[in-house]
């Protein structure tokens, strides 16, 4: 299954209609992007929940106004950044004014571009993984687990010969490289690099 803008439109429309599964998919899709922005600020765990709730509630309010699906990642970054800054100002009000904090704030803004590129990459790999069979995805989930599993453990868990894990890993990596999602991404980025562009992740941000 390839997730494309058409799919995003159906997730948005489903959420507007109250479909929880569409909403959950939308959340899974953007949670990493929101977390990436939040991590730039020194925010406590309890406040992460408050800020995240506000961002998601804003998204729910915004769903009906989405005209350009490509602009949604940029909108998520901007909205999350704004809520974090609001939080920062509010928490600073009970602290002495700290010029360092202002510097951190500005540094955070400049790195929004990185966040979007990271999110784009994340989505490409998610799409690529969706092209694999469930069993192959399962193997990869075990291969990247933290703390890591040994090949012996993986062999036991998946009931596959230990000697097949290495070659299977290589074969699946090649398969991922050959997926439409990855090929399209690499092509677009290399073209952009050659033409000195590469700002396509920002398209529709404003």
């Amino acid at each position: 299954m390839e997730i494309d803008d058409g799919n995003l439109v159906s997730l948005v429309n489903g959420s507007i209609a109250g479909d929880e599964e569409c909403w959950n998919q939308l959340v899974r899709r953007y949670a990493g992007l929101v977390a990436g922005v939040i991590r730039r600020y020194r925010i406590t765990d309890a406040d992460i929940q408050d800020i995240s709730q506000l961002v998601w509630l804003r998204l729910i309010e915004h769903l009906r106004h989405i005209r350009e699906p490509d602009a949604l990642p940029g909108w998520m970054v901007t909205t999350t950044g704004r809520e974090c800054q609001r939080w920062l100002r509010a928490s600073r009000r009970s602290l002495p004014v700290d010029p360092e904090t202002m510097n951190r704030l500005e540094a955070g803004d400049e790195r929004i571009g990185d966040s979007l590129l990271h999110a784009e990459r994340h989505q490409v790999l998610l799409d690529a993984l969706n092209e694999l069979e469930a069993q192959q995805r399962e193997l990869f989930a075990l291969l990247v687990a933290d703390p890591p599993h040994s090949y012996a453990e993986i062999s036991r868990m998946l009931r596959i010969p230990i000697g097949s894990i290495g070659p299977t890993r290589s074969r699946i990596l090649d398969k991922l490289r050959a997926t439409a999602a990855v090929q399209k991404y690499l092509l677009a980025n290399d073209e952009a690099a050659q033409t000195g562009g590469g700002q396509h992740a920002f398209a529709g941000l404003e």
Binding site: Q49, D50, L54, W56, I60, R89, L173
Partner: protein, 157 residues
Amino acid sequence: MRSRDWSNDDVLMHDLGEVLRPGPTEQRVAEAATGLLAWRLRAEQEMAALLYDSGLDASITVRAGGHGEPQTLVFGHGPVQIEVEVSDDGIEGQFIPPRPGVIRLCTVAGTQAETIVDEVGCFSFPLPARGPIRLECATAENTLLTEWISVHANREG
């Protein structure tokens, strides 16, 4: 912007790890979304947009020693405005122009309190513990919902 070197197995595995293994912050962010879809706008409801928030007003935050300073918010929908002041003592608000109606204070957990607007449009609520809040203003004409806001009263301790 050149893409990541995914011809390198280690680089590709590292990036796949980030996708397959969401970090603790990402998990917390995703969990925070649970159940929120129930708060989507209904057909008969209208949204009052946040027009002013003293929490975003740089000229106010520069003032030193603003410990426990009230937060002022203004919401608007057409000619109607809802002014709200949030302090440690609670939430005070005014409906402008005044009109009879019921105002509800909602958190993501549901309606926390309900009150009647007085003859000059004023209303008040105790401050909820924490988290986003919104006001639901039901008049004879319509139900107006304010945007969600977070209240920043000093809740330390």
